[in-house]
Every structure is written in C-alpha cells, then in structure tokens.
C-alpha cells in the first residue's frame, strides 16, 4: 500500500509518451488531410483537426479517470462493463440507423458513439479477468508440431486422437465463447472489419496455452485457404503441398524440416507482398514451393519408407475436402467482399476498388524519402484518397512526410507494442499479463490491417489506425484500452 501515493512514479512514461506522440502526429495529419484553405484554423471545431484535438483532450480525461480507480475495482466490474457494452450493441443492431451499410452508431444527444470500438476494451478486460481467475497452469495445452504429428498418425491409424474429457471447458471453451459473443454482435452490425480485429485474441490464447494445436492447425488452414483462393486452377497442387507439410510434421523427428518448408512458403508470400501481386508470378511461386518439397522428400534418406499410405491418402482427402469447403464458402460471400479478396490476391483489378487503393499507393509512393512537406501533398489536397482522415490517414503521413515519416510512425508503434509485451511479461498477476497481451495484439492487428491496406498488401478492410484516425469513439476506445494497462502496470507491485 506504500506505493499507492507514488502512482506517478510507477506509471510507465514510455507508453504514455509514445501514446501522446502518436496522438499528436495523428491530429497534425488529420489537419492536413482535411485542410480547407478557407477555414485553416487548426482548433476550429468546424474542422476535423479541431474536433480531434477536443477528443484527445477528452481521452486524457478518460485516461486520468481510469488511473484514479483501483485496478481491483476494474477486475470486479469487468463482467458488468462487458455486459453493458454487449447490450449497447444489441440496441445499436435493433434501433440504429444504417450509415454506409452498417448499423453501428449510437446517438446520445449531439454525440454519436460506436459501441463496437469499446467492445475491444470490454472484451479484453473481461477475458483477462476471467483467465486471471480460472487459468490453471497445470492443464495448459502445450502441443507442439510434433504432437500434432503424433495426433495425425493416430487419427489415420483409426486410433483415438483425444477424448472429450481432454477438453477443459472452463479453460478452453469459455474464453473462446467470450471472444465470439462480441464478434457475432459486430458481424450483425455489418462491420466485418472490426470483427476481424478480434482475431487478435488468438495471440493471447496462444501465449496462455489456451489453444496450441488449434492455433497451429488454424494457421495452416488460413495459409491453405489463401492458396486455394489464389490458385483455384491448382487445387490439386495445393493439396499436395499441404500433404507435404503433414508428412513432415508426422515423420520428421525434428520440427526443423517442417518449419523449413513452411518458411520457404511464407518467404515467397512475403516477397509477393512487398513487390506487389501478379497472377503469373504466383503460379511460379507455387511450382517452386512444390518442387522444393519434392526435392526434400527425395533427398532425405528413408523418408519414403517411413510414410504410410494411409497418411498420404487420408491427408489428400482431408486437404481436398478442405479446399472444396473453402471454395464453397467463398461462393457464399457477398460480391463486394469477393471482389476485395480477388483484388488482394491479384486475380482481379476492379476499377472502383483498385482506384481507391491505387490512389492510396500513389500518395504514399510519390512522397519519396522525405515527403512533399506539411500541407504540400498534392494527392492529399486533391482529396484523391477517399476516407483520408479516417481509414487512409497513413497516406497523408506517406505523402507529406515520406519514408522517414512512415518508418517513424511504424517504429513508434513497434516501441509501443513491444513495450506492452515486455511489461506484460513482468506482471505478477496473471490478469495483468493477459490484459497486456490483449492490448498489444489488438493494436498490432489494427496496424497490420490498416497500414497493410494502404500499401496494398492487405484487403480493403475499413478499420482505424489506433490513435491516428479521425474519430472520437475509436480514440476513446484505444485510450481506455491502453490506460487500463498503464494502471495495472503501475500497481503490479501491489498484487502478490
């Protein structure tokens, strides 16, 4: 209890400093993106910069308010906050007006709030308080790739892989349910982007051992899904490639070979992401990957002998089935979603969508090393990039501040996120650690999708850049998310 009076000393000023820096850079770029020569007053509340400045002020009030409560209080009210936020979303779904195809806004007097922005905070808080209470260190699922291999082998031999009694409902099912409730609510608001962000909690689950093999199989499934959508003409090859992974996982004693194969594939994907997508190259990439696998199969001694036929056939059937399901699921998607996916995969060049992303890339690319200068961005001034003060705010940074600006922003985020993980690992309470991971992961996913979208390595998914994008709801949500951890961190010594 000694430390309580010293809260300012225990506050992590690095987190707060980076937070303030990001908010400040953000509002400057909003001013530029929304610049109106007829009313160029920065703090004019008619302008977005003025409003954002006001919201930054309000956020600080929110932050200070959070800091002034005891963290135990939050732990106890976390279920209430979670329920209130969920209910407010139900209200939104039932009563809100539709804006741009989404029912997401709650009107309170002159203010419009987006409850979904707060549900990340509420879910993180409730999930960490739940896991902090029920997470049993002994029963964690520490499955590795080798264990998956063993499981696969048992499965193909017709033996029991696991029994229901292996599943710890409290530990493995409830947390996932906690995450899926807001996801479903947000999906009902037609806000797929925000729902996707909840994928961030899987990093948390991985770290806490909630999911092990699920996570790895899920990762493989995602990779396979992308490959399937990308190369529908080469479904068989894809299945073969997956089989190769399964084979390595099952029979190679060390995981290094399997990792090597997956690594090569990721490397190829990354190269494509950096240098842009093009269909013909994708084909070469796949062929290259398959030949590498074949070479490995041949050069590793006795590998053939150790592969059982059941594994090959079973793996093939499983992979083909999965690929078929992906294809079917893809067919169910709405046309505009399909279009976005196809554009991302480089299969299609739609004019309206690619116009938007092309303009975004034009703005960033034309910034060069040092940018065109504050308020000098021609694309920014011409409002060429739609939604530039909200989802595409990173374009303004890219155009007016150049590579120096974009890397500065990325490094600030990197510092913030790594600092969060580092601090999370130093927490004594399990709840604080889980919460720290939640914050880091949510910020990371936002960053990944938002910036990835502006530089054309992610599909067009409209979610804000934390602390940067214009909008009160998202700023309040992220501020609450971050400051709650700062609060936990400042009290870490109190909890034994």
């Amino acid at each position: 209890m000694k430390t309580r009076g010293n809260i300012l000393l225990n506050v992590d000023w690095v987190l707060i400093g980076v937070y303030l820096a990001l908010c400040l850079i953000g509002v400057l770029n909003i001013y530029a993106a929304d610049f109106n020569p007829l009313s160029s007053d920065f703090f004019n509340l008619e302008n977005r910069s003025g409003k954002q400045a006001l919201w930054i002020g309000a956020s600080l009030v929110i932050g200070i308010t959070i800091m002034s409560f005891d963290s135990k209080f939050f732990k106890s009210v976390s279920p209430i906050i979670f329920v209130v936020v969920c209910l407010s979303q139900v209200v939104v779904i039932l009563f809100a007006e539709e804006v741009n195809g989404a029912r997401a806004w709650l009107k309170i007097g002159p203010f419009k709030l987006q409850p979904a922005e707060f549900s990340k905070f509420a879910t993180a808080l409730f999930l960490s308080s739940y896991l902090g209470t029920f997470l049993n260190e002994k029963n964690t699922d520490e499955a590795t790739i080798e264990e998956i291999g063993k499981g696969m082998r048992r499965f193909f031999k017709g033996k029991k892989v696991f029994s229901l009694s292996d599943i710890d409902i409290l530990k493995q099912v409830v947390p996932i349910v906690i995450v899926f409730i807001p996801v479903i609510l947000i999906m009902l608001q037609n806000d797929t982007g925000t729902a996707l962000v909840f994928g961030a909690f899987f990093f948390v689950f991985y770290r806490e051992g909630v999911i092990g093999r699920v996570f790895i199989i899920g990762l493989l499934a995602i990779v396979l899904a992308i490959i399937t959508l990308m190369f529908d003409k080469h479904v068989a090859f894809t299945a073969l490639g997956v089989l190769a992974i399964l084979v390595y996982s099952s029979f190679i004693k060390s995981t290094s070979m399997a990792l090597f194969s997956i690594g090569i594939m990721i490397f190829l994907l990354v190269c494509k992401a950096i240098f842009g997508w093009s269909t013909s190259l994708n084909t070469y990439m796949l062929w290259g990957w398959i030949s590498i696998n074949t070479v490995i199969l041949i050069i590793v001694p006795d590998l053939w002998k150790r592969i059982e036929r059941g594994v090959i056939i079973g793996g093939l059937i499983l992979a083909l089935g999965y690929v078929g399901i992906i294809g079917k699921a893809y067919g169910v998607l709405q046309p505009h979603q399909k279009e976005r996916i196809e554009i991302l995969l480089g299969k299609k060049h739609d004019k309206t969508v690619s116009f938007q992303t092309d303009q975004s890339l034009n703005a960033i690319g034309s910034g060069g090393i040092s940018g065109k200068g504050f308020l000098q961005g021609t694309h920014t001034k011409g409002k060429w990039v739609p939604e530039q003060s909200t989802d595409y705010i990173f374009c303004t940074v890219g155009e007016e501040w150049g590579f120096i600006g974009t890397t500065t922003v990325l490094i600030l985020f990197l510092i913030l996120i790594f600092r969060l993980i580092q601090k999370a690992e130093r927490q004594r309470s399990k709840m604080s650690r889980v919460y720290g991971y939640c914050v880091a992961s949510v910020l990371f996913i936002h960053l990944l999708i938002n910036i990835g979208m502006t530089i054309q390595i992610m599909p067009v998914i409209g979610i804000p850049l934390p602390f940067f994008s214009y909008g009160g709801s998202s700023l309040f949500g992220f501020t609450a998310l971050l400051f709650m951890f700062v609060k936990f961190d400042s009290q870490r010594l109190d909890i034994l």
Partner: protein, 606 residues
C-alpha cells in the same frame, strides 16, 4: 510453465517480422519505385490547361484586313447535370436526334475522349458562330448542364482571295505525330498562306497547371503557377495583295473559269491572284466547315483548285514575245526581219503582208513565228538534225531563264512547274531522230507540249516590263514587324536576254492595243500605254482558252499581269479587256469604262 513463457519470443518474432515486411514494402514503394508513383500521382492530380494563342491577322498591302479572328462559341455539356428534352434541344441546335445520340456516345467514350469526366464540361458543338449563338443564347442557358466556352475562329471581312489565304482546319493524327506543337483541339492552316506561314501565324500556347481533386475540380495552381506560361500571339502578316484589285478581279471573273495574276514588276509582289470560280472563305469556318468543304470539293467546276499556280496550260501566242527576244539576242533576226504570211505552214488570219518583227507581235502572225523559231533552231543550217537538236538545247536555256519549266517559288505550297519541251521529250514521244522541225513547230506559237501556269504567264509580263529580270513572285512582304527582303540574289533572277532588245518587242506589244489590226484593239486604255500580247491556248476538249499577258504603263511599269479564261476563245475578246480593266482599276483606282466592265462581268463561259 517455462515452455509457455518461451512463446513470448514467438510473438515478438511474428510481430517483428511483419514490421520488417512493412518497412521493406514502404522502402520499395517510396524509394525504389518513387518515380513511377510520382508520375502516376501527377497524371491523376495535375491538369495542364491550354490557353490558345491568337492567330496572326493577314492584311493587304494597304493595311486593309484580309483575315482576322472572331469569337466563336463551343457549346459544352456537363454530363452529370445535363438533362433536357432531346427533341427541343436538337431543334434548337438544328441537329437530328441520331446525330445528338452519336455525339453523346462519342463524348462518353473514353477511348476517343480521353479526359472524360461527367463533372467536367465536354464540347458538344464546336465553334458556333457568334450570330448563330446569339440567336439561341437565351434558350440554351435555360438547360441544366449546358455551358459555353469562347474560342476564336478565322473571319474574312471581304469574301475574297479564298484560295490564296487558304483555310484552317482541325489537326489530324498525322499533324499530332509530326509536330509536338499540336494538341488535339488545335487548328492549323491547311491551305494557302495559312498553311505556308503556319509557324508564323500560330503563335505559342500558354499553359496553366492546376491541381485538381478527385472529382476533377481545380483546387489551386500547381506549384503556385511556377510552371505556367502565357500565350504569345501569332505574327501578323502583311500581304502584297491589293484587296480592291483582288476584289475587282474576282468580280470580272464571275461566270468564268480561269485565273488572273497581277505582279508589281519592280518587286515581284503579287498584287492580285484570282482563281475562278472562287468561294466565300467564310464558308470554311466553324461548325459548317465539314459540310461546306464537301460541297466545294465535289463541285464539277473544281472550285477548290488553285488554278493560278497549278493549272498547266499551253500559253499560246503570248510566248511570241519571248521568241522575238531570243531571236534578237542570238542575232538571227533584227527589228526589220520579215517573213511572208504563208498559211500553208500554219494557220493565220488576214493581215498586212509581209510584216516586220514588231508588226508580227502586233498581228500575232503564226507563219512569221514558224519561220523565226526555225531560224532560231537551225541558225541558217536548214535540215541538219544535229543543228536542230543543238538549237533546241540553246533555245531551252533561254526559255528556262524566263523561269519556265520549274515552279517560280511563290510562297504557296503546290505550285506546279509547267513544261518546256526539249529534245529528250521529243525523242520519247516520237522516237530518237524520228522527228523534225515540221513535227514540233507548234512550240513556236506556244502550243503542243509547251505549258505554263498562269503565274508564269504573269511573270513573263514582269520580265518584259523589267527588260530582262524578275524577282521571285511572292505574297507576303512583312511578318510581324519584320520587312522581308527580296532584293538579294536568291530572289533576283536575270534572263539571258540583253535589255537593249526589249524596246523592239515593246513596240509590237503597244501596237497590239493601239494600232489598227492589233489583236486587242478594243482594250486600249485612255491615258495609259499598255503593252500586251494576246494568246489562244488550244483546247482539244472544247472551246479554246483566252489568254492575255500585259504590263503598264510602258515606261516605268507598275503592273504586269496575265489573264487566262478557259473556253473563252481568242485572247482579244475576253482576256484582254479584263486585263485592261484590271490595269485601269490599279493605276487609276476607279474604272470609268462601265459598259465594258458590265459586258465582261456578264460573260459566262460555263
């Protein structure tokens, strides 16, 4: 436990890995591929807007306007706002609905109309004349999405000299490829002086660079206008034409096919160049250009044909003046040399017999020139084929020194050369040495293979007036403030005839009009000594063409000219009176022989 904690490194690695990927991607986009994106961003967001320069005017020698600019209107549609009753709109603009639909389709077709945007006004009707525009202005502005852009078009206060001035037309793909100056909206000179002096007349375009927004609206000047330029108007041209004389000549040539070319002998300045039939140059301006051009081009009288510089015709007897000079110069004849009028050699009319050289000019005696030219060719060695060939070669050198057989070099494109027959040509036609003087004698009286353009005929008048030299005929004397110099050696040409021989021929030419029996006796002009020579250009397809070549006054000549009227018969009947009236108009500024004028105007030969 320890195993789980080690998973934090997986997360560090994964997150860190994506950061590196993103920074690499940014490095690629912002540094390696920077130029590509700068370029693409600029094409999208910077608009170059042209400001057209004013095309130079053309004035006559006395400063009267021949060509000027007039405001015309482009009717523009902003497709996003454009909603009209199609029928009423079409009726207003006098187009039919299928044309209306076609134009809209072309406007919206991005492969034709590259910069199309539904928010930016697009040209629907181009260059509507201001009088037409004024008529519909009020009603036009009642429609939504209709706007108007001012441009300039050529305008001709007096509808004269259409072929000489030429016209402008929209640039085509070839112009765009050949000359970087042009943009698709440009107009360029496509005939006459407009074409020849295109680079002087067109000026320099001004460019404005605007930053535009996503919707195509201009938000500011690009780089605060640092790249902007103002247009520089084209140079005005001062022509050598005398507008009054030109107009008068066109009046006289109504109902006739042919041409009149008048040149100031002391300078080579072309005072008038009439191509008949002619047309109102205002027809080839603005919106009606296409239809009118088609109509003129299809006319059987070949209205667009610039006869003065392109029509190659046998000059007829006017070359007898030149033959006389050659014979005097090489010494095969003198003033008193006479030949009998032997009509068995070649046809002639009744006249006093025998004739001296000037009298032969006066009476245009064909047998005389049969003999004279024979003498020029053979130099007293009759029947000798080798001498004939040498003689023709010599004669040809003289003739070519008169500027015949090649274009004179007037400042118009398309001038034709005419033809001076030579030994080679006769060999080709008849076979080597299978011809003799009897075969080719028509050369002596300006018929057969011999052909001249009207401007060459007029230039023959200039040489006679100048007693042996001429300046390259030209139509422009000043470009902008710069006076063109034609006195230097490039433009000064001397014939091989000694100036002392001219008086004898001038006597004959004066007698053509002034002595009884002269072939153009009716064309005398009181108070002015005109020297002239009639000609009849034989036409195998119909009536002979009437030719007259003259200069006046005899001493210190001010004007030399040739009149060529197709299918009008002998030179004395039509061409000579027209030439005489032209001289009167030019020297006295007022024509008093109104009866003669009226009878000439009323003559119709087609």
């Amino acid at each position: 436990m320890a195993k789980l904690e080690s998973r934090k490194y997986h997360i560090y690695l994964l997150f860190g890995f994506f950061f590196i990927v993103y920074i690499c991607r940014l490095f690629y986009v912002q540094i390696i591929e920077k130029d590509f994106f700068v370029d693409r961003a600029k094409t999208d967001s910077v608009d170059k807007v042209v400001e057209f320069p004013v095309r130079g005017n053309i004035y006559d020698r006395n400063g009267k306007v021949l060509v000027q600019n007039e405001i015309a209107y482009d009717v523009m549609l902003t497709m996003r706002d454009f909603k009209v009753d199609t029928l009423k709109f079409c009726a207003l603009l006098k187009i039919d609905t299928s044309e209306f639909r076609l134009r809209l389709k072309n406007i919206k077709n991005k492969s034709i109309n590259k910069g199309y945007s539904s928010r930016i006004p697009q040209v629907f009707e181009s260059l509507m004349k201001s009088e037409n525009f004024g008529r519909i202005k009020e009603r036009l502005f009642n429609y939504k999405g209709v706007s108007v852009k001012k441009r300039t078009v050529r305008s001709y206060p007096r509808p004269i000299a259409a072929h000489v001035l030429g016209h402008v037309s929209k640039v085509g793909p070839r112009d765009l490829n050949r000359d970087q100056f042009y943009i698709p909206q440009d107009y360029r000179g496509s005939s006459g002086l407009e074409l020849f002096y295109e680079k002087e007349l067109r000026g320099t375009k001004g460019w404005h660079h605007y930053l535009k927004n996503r919707h195509g609206k201009y938000i500011s000047k690009y780089l605060s206008g640092a790249l902007d330029t103002t247009p520089r108007p084209g140079n005005n041209l001062k022509s050598t034409l005398d507008a009054d004389l030109q107009e008068y000549g066109e009046l006289l040539m109504t109902g006739k096919i042919g041409s009149v070319v008048a040149i100031e002998p002391s300078t080579g300045e072309i005072l008038a160049m009439i191509n008949a039939p002619t047309y109102d140059p205002n027809l080839l301006v603005g919106g009606e250009y296409g239809a009118n051009y088609q109509r003129l081009a299809k006319d059987k009288k070949k209205i667009l044909f610039p006869r003065a510089i392109q029509s190659r015709q046998p000059p007829g007897s006017i070359v007898k003046t030149m033959q006389s000079l050659i014979s005097l110069n090489i010494g095969v004849a003198n003033e008193y040399t006479s030949f009998g009028c032997n009509k068995k050699l070649v046809g002639c009319h009744d006249h006093r017999n025998p004739l001296t050289l000037p009298e032969a000019v006066q009476h245009s005696c064909n047998p005389y020139y049969y003999n004279l030219v024979k003498k020029i060719f053979f130099k007293g060695r009759n029947g000798n084929m080798a001498q004939l060939r040498r003689g023709i070669d010599d004669w040809e050198k003289y003739v070519r020194s008169f500027g015949l057989g090649d274009p004179l070099g007037v400042d118009l494109y398309g001038e034709k050369d005419g033809n001076v027959p030579d030994v080679k040509e006769y060999d080709q036609i008849y076979g080597k040495n299978r011809w003799n003087y009897r075969t080719i004698y028509s050369i002596s009286i300006g018929q057969g293979e011999f052909s001249l353009t009207p401007i060459q005929m007029a230039n023959l008048g200039v040489i006679l007036a100048n007693k042996g030299h001429y300046y390259t005929p030209h139509l422009i004397r000043e470009i902008g403030d710069e006076k063109l110099v034609f006195a230097d050696s490039n433009f000064y040409h001397k014939t091989l005839i000694d100036s002392s021989h001219f008086e004898i021929v001038h006597n004959g030419m004066q007698w053509v009009l002034e002595r009884p029996g002269g072939t153009a006796g009716k064309s005398r002009l009181e108070g002015v000594t005109i020297c002239g020579k009639t000609g009849t250009s034989q036409n195998p397809h119909g009536d002979d063409h009437s030719v007259f070549m003259a200069f006046a006054p005899r001493h210190n000549p001010k004007i030399a000219l040739a009149v060529f009227v197709e299918n009008a018969g002998g030179g004395g009947g039509t061409a000579a009176p027209i030439a005489s009236l032209m001289i009167e108009k030019y020297l006295k500024r007022k024509v008093e022989r109104l009866k003669l004028e009226q009878s000439m105007v009323e003559k119709v030969f087609y």
